[in-house]
């Protein structure tokens, strides 16, 4: 299904946070959304699943710092390329962003970990407004 970059960016940020990545790492992934396509997303989803994978994603964001300081990190693959493209502000791909439903569900599953289950109290007080407004 076609997704917009803004949708992918928002979902990546929430999914990263929901899966327990450091906020700054989740931001780096989200801001690279312009350059992220199916294969890079697969790498992210694989990474978010395990503690080891999350460490690798975190290390990848740190490797961007090393690269900014002139090092040449021994990293490759679609996700690294996307992060580097963001860092270098290379023109993003123009083709429509197609993401499979399975990938989107996986991403949304992690994002849902940032949502707080509804209670009567939160429904009534949390937003500060009643349910009906007919005036």
């Amino acid at each position: 299904m076609r997704r917009t970059v803004a949708e992918l960016r928002a979902e990546l940020l929430k999914a990263g946070r929901g899966a327990g990545l450091p906020l700054g790492t989740a931001e780096d992934l989200a801001w690279a959304a312009d350059w992220i396509r199916a294969e890079a997303l697969k790498q992210i989803l694989d990474g978010l699943r395990t503690g080891e994978g999350r460490k690798e994603l975190t290390a990848m964001a740190n490797a961007l710092d090393a690269r900014a300081l002139g090092a040449e990190p021994k990293l490759s693959g679609p996700l690294w390329q996307a992060l580097v493209a963001f860092q270098d502000q290379i023109a993003p791909p123009t083709e429509a962003l197609e993401i499979s439903d399975a990938q989107w569900r996986a991403l949304a599953g992690h994002a849902a970990q940032t949502y707080v289950p509804e209670t009567d109290q939160s429904r009534l007080r949390g937003a500060g407004a009643g349910d009906i407004d007919n005036d």
């Binding site: 917009t4 803004a6 906020l23 700054g24 740190n62 949390g126 937003a127 500060g128 005036d135």
Partner: protein
């Protein structure tokens, strides 16, 4: 500041971010001529834009659809408006609603019959629908039932509606969300960000809202069977109900917040340095001051605290305008007016800022092109820890001095509810869910960072060992170049009032007549007094309008 274009105009010093970026002051904001809606309307006027209504398929009960088109910056945009029956027990301003009186899409181009049919199916679903890159903005609005029905009944009887009731409510419908930038499949902002007329922040959203306002006028005239008096119509803007969902935007877009503030503060600094005034400008200030008196007299709200603030402001403004003739003489009248306001309330001070800018369009309007910023904050791993610490000391004392061991300092937490992703605020020490809080606790994050920083060394190495400080480091670094990027208050404190953030953002949109319903949501009016589609020549003179003025 080193990223800003060189400024040729003389200017006074900018107000300090420590003054400007406090919640209480942000919560006293007023719209200015630099706000987004007036900026858009000036653009439409400059282009001689004409609004057409190629489709009007609205039945005798007021249900159906209509299309409005307008040419802006070489592109045609169309508002597709859909009106449907709605049960009274379905009518809520909250995000958790699932049905509305009316639904809207701003469409890129002129929709053909199949596109109109697609939008008539999808737009009433709002968040549950799916949209395309041709769809630029998605919105919905509910009737202000009492006023809407009154206006239709009056027209049907051959009368004009009651002027006081028009003045008191100020709109026929309230939008309860205006979605842009890629949500639910609509076009990403990058798709239109370079287009003349839509390149500024929220321009497509403002165009949508202004066209919706015209539709609400047409709808009551259709149902009432005769035209509404032009003066009444002009004073029917479009309402809006805004809740917590708008507040995190200011925190998640720090560079944009800085750009908006830089523009407003730079405009103020230029006007303060304007020197002696021409007779025409002195007269203009006098005339505007009297209009503000009338505007404030017509602004009354049910909330007791908000009403008390308005009444204080009414008194203060009366005194200010009485003193005005004396302030307007001399070599530095704008500076004198600015200083005279400083003895009053925050509302008086911020109102005066907006007032000062109003007659100086040619000096300040050009600054609005600096209000959009494409960049995301960048981390600078080469910075020394010593430099980072010195930035913390100079810019963040408001955060570092807080005592987070005190439970009141962490009393609230921001979160997103599972129910339709509605943003909410909870009480940390009483309610579950704080472990999933949204990261709006900027002051606490930065204080944690300061506590873990070593004496010296490499920032890149520090971040490898402490990756959870990455976001805070980026914010500290951003604030060094973008001094208005942070709200300098603790957003999880017991005293934090989200309504202050909402008012600041809404004032930048151009909203007035703030009508807070609690500390976390507000109604406002947009486009009240604004030109109708066939009178854009009035686009330069509707700041804080008063009902009854021509």
């Amino acid at each position: 500041m080193d990223e800003m274009a060189p400024i040729a105009s003389p200017q006074a010093p900018l107000r300090s971010p420590d003054t400007v970026m406090r919640l209480a002051r942000m919560g006293a904001s007023f719209p200015t001529r630099l706000s987004f809606l007036p900026t858009l309307l000036r653009q439409l006027r400059d282009e001689g834009a004409e609004v057409t209504r190629p489709v009007w398929e609205i039945g005798p009960e007021g249900y159906g659809h209509a299309v409005y088109s307008v040419l802006l910056g070489g592109h045609v945009y169309s508002l597709v408006a859909i009106s449907s029956p709605l049960e009274a027990d379905q009518r809520t301003d909250r995000v958790i609603a699932t049905a509305w009186d009316t639904a809207y899409v701003l469409y890129d181009g002129v929709p053909d019959a199949s596109e109109i049919a697609r939008l008539c199916d999808a737009a009433p679903l709002q968040e549950a629908g799916r949209f395309t890159e041709r769809d630029l903005v998605l919105s919905r609005a509910n009737r202000s039932v009492r006023l809407f029905d009154h206006v239709v009944e009056a027209l049907r009887k051959g009368n004009q509606p009651d002027a006081d009731r028009i003045c008191n409510t100020g709109y026929l419908m309230r939008t309860t969300a205006v979605y842009g930038n890629g949500k639910f499949g609509i076009a990403d902002r990058t798709h239109i960000a370079q287009r003349p007329g839509l390149s500024g922040p929220f321009m497509a959203e403002m165009l949508t809202v202004w066209l919706i306002r015209g539709f609400t006028h047409d709808l009551v005239e259709h149902l009432g069977g005769r035209p509404l008096d032009r003066r009444l119509k002009r004073h029917l803007g479009i309402g809006n109900a805004t809740g917590l969902g708008m507040a995190p935007f200011l925190v998640s877009h720090p560079l944009l917040l800085d750009a908006w503030m830089q523009v407003r503060e730079t405009a103020l600094a230029r006007v303060r340095a304007a020197g002696a005034l021409s007779a025409a400008r002195r007269a203009r200030y006098q005339e505007l001051a009297q209009r503000v008196v009338r505007h404030l007299a017509q602004w009354s709200v049910p909330d007791a605290q908000a009403q008390a603030n308005i009444e204080t402001l009414q008194d203060e403004w009366q005194a200010f305008s009485t003193a005005l003739p004396g302030l307007l003489d001399g070599e530095t009248p704008t500076e004198q007016m600015y200083h005279a306001s400083l003895t009053g309330s925050l509302e008086l001070q911020e109102l005066t800022v907006a007032f000062l800018l109003e007659p100086f369009g040619e000096l300040v309007d050009g600054l609005t092109c600096c209000m959009a910023t494409p960049a995301e904050p960048r981390l600078k791993p080469g910075m020394s820890i010593t430099d980072l610490k010195s930035a913390l000391q100079s810019d963040w004392s408001w955060a570092l001095d807080l005592d987070f061991a005190d439970p009141t300092a962490t009393h609230q937490f921001w979160y997103v509810s599972e129910s339709k992703a509605e943003p909410r605020l909870g009480l940390r020490h009483e309610e579950p869910g704080a472990e999933r809080e949204s990261p709006l606790d900027i002051a606490r994050q930065v204080q944690d960072l300061a506590g873990d920083l070593p004496r010296s060394g490499s920032l890149a190495e520090f971040l490898m060992a402490h990756p959870h400080h990455r976001a805070a480091v980026r914010r500290v670094q951003s604030l060094m170049r973008h001094p208005y990027a942070e709200i300098r208050d603790n957003l999880i404190d017991a005293d934090c009032r989200p309504i202050d953030m909402l008012r600041c953002k809404l004032a930048f949109f151009g909203a007035a007549r703030f009508d807070p319903k609690s500390d976390r949501w507000t109604r406002i009016t947009l486009a009240q007094g604004a030109p109708l589609a066939d009178e854009l020549d009035r686009a330069d003179d509707w700041w804080l309008p008063a009902f009854g003025d021509e």
